[in-house]
Each structure stands twice: as structure tokens, then as C-alpha cells.
């Protein structure tokens, strides 16, 4: 049974389509990658699921089912509560995702106390346990610290602990390692994988890094221009990408075995053919 199900989701800024008829599913406990170049709409899908789309973006069609309930048909208050209780976000930039004016501890426990109605003591004990789980030394002291007193890697660990705190069934990770330096990236990826496996949480991993996808994910959705081009398993994608764009994207990934090889981008001929395909598809389906 799929925990998250998007069907025919479309969104626009003014008349400009941002998402075109996007359908995808994330099963319980599944790790799915959402891959595409910048501007492909992968972050927008994450935002649409969590209800944080910018005000200028309007959802024009389709549905988002979270745990069997259609988010787009719910009242705002119920939707917020459902999302807060069942889903969580690991944000992109740990340096800006913690409130600089507040201590770290309450920022992790607040969801448990305010939204889920835990007792403060209970929430605190749970968070200390979690901070220990993400390998933060002296959790009690860290909880009293302000964000600016901690390193980027520490802050991302805190945000991961915070995402898992309420035992969500789905976590959206929006390029969670992009803002970190390379040595820390690996530790954080391993940590996310360990935590995901231990808690059995479904993970929607938004990234442009195919290397990360191959290590972390089971299935993947390839996006271009707000449209799903391919929906496949990671193994199949790396063995024989079905779409011409997927193949080009794969070919453009820098290889560690060939460090001197020139950096490639997706050839223009390919993007042009993809755009023609999308245009033809839009033409067939008026409205």
C-alpha cells in the first residue's frame, strides 16, 4: 500500500506550468529518489506535499494522498495537523533552517509538545535519546545551545533528529547534503540511511546527485520541466535507462574512475527533444 500518492498533480505560477500532471507513489518504508536538473520542479513536489508552496504558486489539478487522505480536499487546519503528525522535512541548508533567536532544544521538542500533545519532560527525554542516536555528544548541553554556537554538520544532525522525533511515516529530504562540505556529506548520508532503516520511515529524497541515489535509494522518479519522464527502480535505471533524457543525465554524471574526464552536461539535442515531447503531450491534452 502506498503511503504517499500523487495523481495528476499540476501547478502554475500565473500561466506558467511548474508541475505538469505529476503522478508518483512512495510505499511504506520505501526510499524513493526525485531526480532532475535545477528547475525541474523536484523541490516544488516536496513543498506541495508538505504544504509550503510559495503563495504565488497555484495547484491547478490532481490530488495528493497522504496515508489515504486527500490533502488538497482537507481544511487547512486539519491538513497542517496531518502533515505535522505523519510527515517531516529534512531541509537543504542547516545554517538557515534553525531559528537563530531560539535555543536548539525547544526547536526539536516543540512539535511533540504543541502539535502532538506530549508532556514536556517526555518530549525532552525522547529528544535526548534521538540526539544520542545521531551521534551528538553531550545532548543536554547542545539542547541549551543557540544555533550559531554549533557547526553545520552538527546542525544538520539536529535537524535529522528533529525530523525523526515525532516518528513520522514519511520524510521529505530536500537535497540535505548540498550545503555541507564533502567530508561531512558522506557522514550525513550514512546517518540518514541508518535512521531510515532503523525507523522504517518512507523517504522521498530530492537530489540532483545520481551518485547519492545509487547508494541510498531503491526507486526513482526522473523529472524534466515539471514532468515525470521515467519512474523506475534504481537498479534498472543504472543498467538501462529507458528514457533518452535519463541516459543523457546518467552520462553527464562525473565519474570517480575518470577524474580527468571533461565535465559534461545533458546535450542540447536531448533537452530539445524532451521539450518537444512535453509540448506534444500538452497539445494532446487541452486545458
Amino acid at each position: 500500500m502506498s503511503f504517499l500518492k500523487l495523481e495528476g498533480l499540476s501547478a502554475q505560477v500565473g500561466a506558467l506550468p511548474i508541475l505538469r500532471d505529476v503522478s508518483l507513489q512512495v510505499e511504506v518504508g520505501e526510499v524513493r529518489a526525485l531526480v532532475g536538473e535545477s528547475g525541474a520542479g523536484k523541490s516544488m513536489i516536496g513543498k506541495a506535499i508538505l504544504g509550503t508552496l510559495p503563495e504565488a504558486i497555484r495547484i491547478t489539478g490532481g490530488s495528493i494522498h497522504l496515508d489515504g487522505e486527500n490533502l488538497l480536499a482537507m481544511a487547512a487546519r486539519e491538513r497542517r495537523h496531518l502533515i505535522g503528525a505523519k510527515a517531516a522535512l529534512i531541509p537543504q541548508d542547516p545554517l538557515t533552517a534553525l531559528n537563530p533567536a531560539r535555543r536548539v532544544g525547544p526547536q526539536i521538542t516543540n512539535r511533540l509538545v504543541d502539535i502532538l500533545g506530549w508532556r514536556r519532560k517526555q518530549a525532552q527525554a525522547r529528544v535526548i535519546e534521538l540526539l544520542d542516536e545521531v551521534h551528538i555528544p553531550a545532548p543536554e548541553r547542545v539542547m541549551r545551545a543557540y544555533p550559531h554556537e554549533l557547526s553545520g554538520g552538527m546542525r544538520q544532525r539536529i535537524l535529522i533528529a528533529s525530523a525523526f522525533a515525532a516518528q513520522p511515516r514519511l520524510i521529505v529530504a530536500d537535497e540535505p547534503t548540498t550545503a555541507l562540505d564533502v567530508t561531512v556529506q558522506k557522514q550525513i548520508l550514512r546517518l540518514i540511511r541508518d535512521m531510515q532503516q532503523r525507523h522504517g520511515t518512507a523517504l522521498l529524497f530530492v537530489t540532483h546527485d545520481l551518485g547519492v541515489v545509487s547508494k541510498l535509494c531503491q526507486s526513482m522518479t526522473v523529472l524534466y520541466g515539471g514532468k515525470v519522464l521515467e519512474d523506475t527502480t534504481v537498479d534498472e535505471f543504472f543498467q538501462s535507462p529507458a528514457h533518452v533524457y535519463s541516459a543523457a543525465l546518467l552520462a553527464a554524471t562525473p565519474k570517480y574512475t575518470d577524474p580527468d574526464g571533461s565535465l559534461m552536461s545533458v546535450p542540447e539535442a536531448v533537452t530539445r527533444s524532451v521539450e518537444a515531447e512535453i509540448a506534444a503531450h500538452d497539445h494532446r491534452r487541452p486545458g
Binding site: 509550503t52 497542517r80 495537523h81 522535512l89 512539535r111 502539535i115
Partner: protein
């Protein structure tokens, strides 16, 4: 630790500022035309009378000598004697200070409440009609100076529809049992709500006239920084946790967005205190500002000096207070 050192440093610079103000006001009011002795002389007074009066008030000495005498007096807590009333400047000025402080603080509270409410409402309803209405109201409030608001209020609520008192600080018929001059404060402490209401009814219009331009500035700046803060990642993250828009604005965005506004309010509050001079005159409110105008008209040099020094003390203290509050609210500065 750092906070204490910053505080001491600021105290020293405050002292230097005050000495500078003392020097400037002392010499400037003696250089500009106008002579206090001439104001006091009866018609037909001779050279001898003038010389005697000059000697009495020390105007026969050179300017630097006069300054030294005044400075020594201040160090001993004596600001000289008012020429017109023959009373010590210190007690005159301190007697009027509470009235002006109460008026300014009332105006500040009104400005913060009004401006804050408008900023929060505008942020909550951003992009809608409410925000457009708030923006237009702000523009109008900003472009009309405080004394014009004062005149308008006198006309509307004093003459056409007389609901407030337009003159004085308190109704003369009332018997005041107070030991301090902080009437508004003391009437509350003594539970004399009848007097309190009378005081508020006198103070309401001058305070509102002073508050409106500041409220508009607060509303504009706070709304701007709130709207910028609302796009930051930690606000988005709080939204995904299930918090309402109002909670997100108040708990996540406001503590960060308020910092630039706080600095501005500090600076603008000193302008507001400056504005009391004209507003007090307009409403015949018995405060420092009204006294300052009388002192200037009568060339009461010691009194002018005393009032200016007191205003300078208020200005620098407000600035110091703002910096300290800023450091307390912003954890990044507290440890820096």
C-alpha cells in the same frame, strides 16, 4: 562580562556627549542676540542699575569664567537659579520632568501597540486588500507631522465633538493627593481611577498626535522585515510541523524581525521626545517642552541650559537602553 564592559564604555561616551552638549548650549545661547538683563529692567533704568543686575547674575565676568562657575555648580548638583522665577533650575526642571516622561511613554506605548498591530495584521493578510489599506494608511500617517495631527484632533475631538480635554494636564478643580509629579502612575497606585481617567482624557490627544507618525514607521519597517523573515527556511520548517500561520508569525518570525525595528524605535523615540516641545505648547500641557519655550522667550539662560542638559541625558539614556535591550534579545550579540 562583555555586556558589562560594553555598558561601561557606553557610559563614558555618554558623559563626553553631555559635556559637549553643555559647552555648545552655554556658548550658543550667549552668542545669539537677546539679553536677559534687558528683559528685567524697568523702564528708565540707568547704567548703574544694569551693572548691578549684571553683577548679581554673574554676567559681568568673561564667558569662560561664567562657564567654569556653572560647571562647578553642576558637579555640586547645583544648576543655577532661574532668572524669571528666582527658583533653583534643578527643582523647576525635575518638577516638570514627570509630566513630559508620562506623555512620551504614553505616546510610545500607543505607537508600539498601533504600529505592531498594523504590522502583524498586514503580514497575516499579506497580498490582500487589508495589506493595501494598511500601506495607504501608513503613507498618510507618515506624511502628516505630529503638530498637524494635534491641531486636527483639537478641531475634531475638542471643538466639533468635544469628548477629550484639549488643554492642560489635569482638571484644575480636582484635588490631587499626590506626593510625586508622576500623576498618571501615582493615581493608579492609589487606586484613584477618577483622577487617572481625567489625566488620560487630557493626555490622550497629545499622546496620539505624537504616536501616529512613529506608529506608521514601526508598522512599515516591522511589516517589511516580517515579510522577509516569513520566507526563511526555519519559518518554512515550522510550517511543516503543523503550526498555524499566526503561531509562525508570532513565535518564529517576530523575535528575529523585531530587531531592526527596535533600533529604529530607539532613535525615533528621541525625536518623539523632541516633538513634545511643540505638542505640549499646542495642548498647554505643563511639561518640560512648554517650560523650554517660555524659558527661550524670556531669555532665562540658566533654565534653558538646565532643560537642554536634561533632554540630552534622556536622549543618551534611551540610546543606551536600546543597545542593551538589543544585546539581550539577540543571542548572537550577547556572546559576541
Amino acid at each position: 562580562m562583555t555586556l558589562i564592559r560594553t555598558f561601561l564604555k557606553r557610559l563614558v561616551s555618554m558623559l563626553i556627549t553631555l559635556i559637549g552638549v553643555a559647552v555648545i548650549v552655554f556658548f550658543v545661547i550667549r552668542i545669539v542676540p537677546g539679553n536677559p538683563i534687558a528683559m528685567m529692567l524697568p523702564p528708565g533704568a540707568g547704567e548703574e542699575d544694569i551693572a548691578r543686575l549684571k553683577a548679581l547674575y554673574g554676567f559681568d565676568k568673561t564667558l569662560p569664567e561664567q562657564f567654569l562657575i556653572w560647571g562647578k555648580g553642576i558637579l555640586a548638583g547645583d544648576f543655577g537659579t532661574s532668572i524669571t522665577t528666582r527658583q533653583p533650575v534643578m527643582s523647576l526642571v525635575l518638577g516638570r520632568l514627570p509630566a513630559t516622561l508620562e506623555l512620551s511613554i504614553m505616546a510610545l506605548v500607543m505607537a508600539v501597540a498601533l504600529g505592531g498591530a498594523l504590522a502583524l495584521a498586514g503580514t497575516r493578510q499579506r497580498g490582500g486588500k487589508t495589506e493595501a489599506v494598511i500601506d495607504v494608511t501608513n503613507g498618510i500617517s507618515l506624511s502628516v507631522p505630529d503638530f498637524l495631527w494635534g491641531l486636527l484632533f483639537i478641531l475634531l475631538f475638542g471643538v466639533l465633538w468635544p469628548v477629550f480635554h484639549i488643554s492642560g494636564r489635569v482638571s484644575p478643580a480636582l484635588d490631587l493627593p499626590f506626593v510625586t509629579n508622576f500623576y498618571l502612575f501615582e493615581s493608579l497606585l492609589r487606586l484613584r481611577f477618577d483622577i487617572w481617567l481625567d489625566l488620560v482624557s487630557h493626555m490622550f490627544m497629545p499622546a496620539l498626535a505624537l504616536a501616529i507618525p512613529l506608529a506608521a514607521i514601526i508598522a512599515q519597517l516591522l511589516k517589511q522585515s516580517l515579510k522577509e523573515t516569513m520566507h526563511l527556511d526555519y519559518v518554512t520548517l515550522a510550517r511543516t510541523k503543523g503550526y498555524s500561520e499566526t503561531h509562525v508569525i508570532l513565535r518564529e518570525a517576530l523575535p528575529n524581525a523585531i530587531l531592526p525595528t527596535l533600533t529604529l524605535v530607539g532613535v525615533q523615540f528621541t525625536f518623539l521626545i523632541g516633538g513634545t516641545v511643540i505638542i505640549e505648547r499646542l495642548f498647554s500641557y505643563e511639561g518640560l517642552g512648554n517650560m523650554a519655550i517660555d524659558a527661550v522667550i524670556n531669555r532665562d539662560l540658566p533654565l534653558i541650559q538646565g532643560i537642554v542638559i536634561l533632554f540630552a541625558v534622556i536622549f543618551t539614556s534611551v540610546n543606551l537602553l536600546v543597545d542593551l535591550t538589543y544585546a539581550l534579545l539577540n543571542p548572537r550579540l550577547r556572546h559576541g
